[in-house]
Amino acid sequence: MAAFGSFALLLALVLCAYNLLAGTIALRQLSTGAAGRISPERLAETARRAGISSFIAVSAAAAALLYSVFTNNFSIAYILHHSNRALPGPYKFAALWSGQEGSLLLWAWLLAGYGFVLRLRHKVDVRLTAYASTILAAIQVFFLLLLNFTALPFAIAPGEIAGDGFGLNPLLQYPEMVIHPPMLYLGYVGFSVPFAFALGALMMRYPGEKWIHITRRWTMVTWIFLTCGVVLGMHWAYAVLGWGGYWGWDPVENASLMPWLTGTAFLHSVMMQEKRGMMKNWNVWLIFSTFMLSILGTLLTRSGIVSSVHAFAQSSIGNWFVGFLVITLIVCTFTFVLQRDHLKTEHKLESLVSRESSFLFNNLVLLAACFTVLWGTLFPVLSEYVQGSKVTVGAPFYNRVAVPIGLFLLFLTGVGPLLAWRSSSFKSIRKNFIAPLVAGVVTAIILTLFGVHFWQDEGSFYSLVCFSLAALVTTAIGSEFVRGAAVIQRHTGQNILASMVQLTRRNTRRYGGYLVHFGIVVMFVGLAGSAFNRSVEKELGFGQSMDLGPYHLVCQSFTQETNANYDTEYSLMDVYRNGKKQFQLAPEKRFYQASQQTQTMVANHSTPLWDLYLVYEGKNPETGLPIIKAFLNPLVMWIWIGVAIVVFGTAVALMPNLTATLASQRNRPDTLAASAEVEAPALRGGD
């Protein structure tokens, strides 16, 4: 199987190299009109097919590695170091991306998968897709070079074949780890597609903005995968690391956040290019940066150049990635300089109070956040290079900048949709802003009366601002739905809820986007709860207790158990509220035999109001009694609910509009005569 896997990877490299070479020659011949022995169209077609075939070859390699892990083939060094016989099935699957070589194979496989779909759908614009396919092949070649010459997933372990493997890192033996890395990688890798289209469109001086329309769904799908990947990482950190939080500004967390920030900025600013032909230079650099930040993210996660609880590999492939980043930057800069006259804006910003300016501010704020995170993440590396000693940047640095930036973004989320394109008059602002402002102010007053005193500390102040802005934005979004639904209601006579559904189906992109904004608001509410976190730590023997918030925790017992994969120590904690037993929690600590590593398993009881989060810290060596740390974390559940709403909103935004569906049905010969419906332009739902 190792020989087959290695061969499949080598074959994939040859196919991608052919795609790159033949694709480049064909595109050159087509643009210069030069003739070759084979027609350029035919040559381009073989290049496209080679790209499609590369997916089959990389899939064969991935299947070979999976087969090897499930059959405990410890002759392969990668399997020996990342699996063992007692490892449960789903974690054997996760072993595919738990190490350097496997995760690079996953990158290459996902990239080939995206390329496969792109190349199959080439009829959408044959020439532009040929450019994108060739650029994508260049990226594939880089990853396949790594897999064939530096990080070999099928390398044979020296010496005799071991009877059992060294096991999977215990931190990775958690259900989310089966889906978190693929999600994150789907996000990272996915940005290659809009990048390839943007670079291709610039190279060929593609007239118009249709490339944005073609890549819109790609970008949104990629963005939602990255969002889910980042949030699953947060949830994993919360559930596994046992420090009571979900975001520690760890370099690898930051690495996933940076492309998310620029990708989010891109998703907003391309709307200006689509609708008004503005910000073309900006958008091109946004997607270039997003792609490069994705590569940087992979470099940070996989090279070990920064210390992180999320980095599970250390190697020398960093130089390869740095080289690739430099080449990418040179190609992008060269193409931009050569073709910059093609990116002339068609309109100028007419007013500072307009939808365009809100997008511009949104972009500037997102980029400021990205720069802050980039600076903080790379500062230890730079300080070590300049001074010889590593100076790390802690959470207070990020929080000082990121919290106000986040709140300003939240404010823009509410304000932007209420502003008109081009310019908004004072009358229009007054008309649209009164209700949201009243909601925000009333919320602030109510919360102050209920004890959230902004003058107490910084956390309370920011939380109060966050809750008030959440009310403002929710009202703004709600008013958009109600106003639009009222128009539908006037024309159709449906009730307001049915009209809202109809409205959303008629302009899925706009109203799906609003749902995404609402999901973000809900997430912010969850994040704001962290200002009121409480914790208590105590040594608890049988029958002993401690109090936290409304809960009374009693240690019912503590014990040890053993199974094939790990030994475990845990406490059984009865949780009482108002004198009544509510539920039982069992925080534990595991010792994994294969890897000889310990791992905390948090016990968490989550409610919409707060999480009761228990950590088994270990036993006091003097008394032999377990030490339990309990956290009461308010509103955490709303972060996960918010993400679910974001996913739903994105799914809605990805659906075709009802009018477009009806139009395509009407245009079908069999329905053309039967259809008598005439759409009123005003009923479309806006954009």
Partner: protein, 88 residues
């Protein structure tokens, strides 16, 4: 077994890539007319959106009139250029 699998994979993929195809998609260059037609559709969409937001009570009459006039001018310029191309 591995050698056989490698051979099958190699032959199948090379066969797929170089198998003579009768119909190959032509790589046409996008014209100025294509671009103008796309732009026209976008401006019409913008007009529809403006109408909708006006009906939803989002804009005062005077803002609506000014923006509509501006978009209609833009659309008229594009349509005129399309007509010029078509006549030529």
């Amino acid at each position: 077994m591995s050698t056989l699998a490698c051979g099958v994979l190699l032959l199948a993929l090379f066969g797929y890539i170089f198998w003579p195809e009768r119909h190959v998609e032509a790589q046409t260059k996008k014209t100025r007319l294509d671009f103008l037609e796309e732009r026209r559709d976008v401006v019409f969409d913008n007009l529809r959106d403006l109408n909708f937001e006006y009906h939803a009570g989002k804009y005062p009459e005077e803002d609506y009139a000014a923006q509509r006039a501006s978009l209609e001018n833009e659309a008229a310029e594009i349509v005129a250029e399309i007509d010029t191309f078509r006549l030529a």
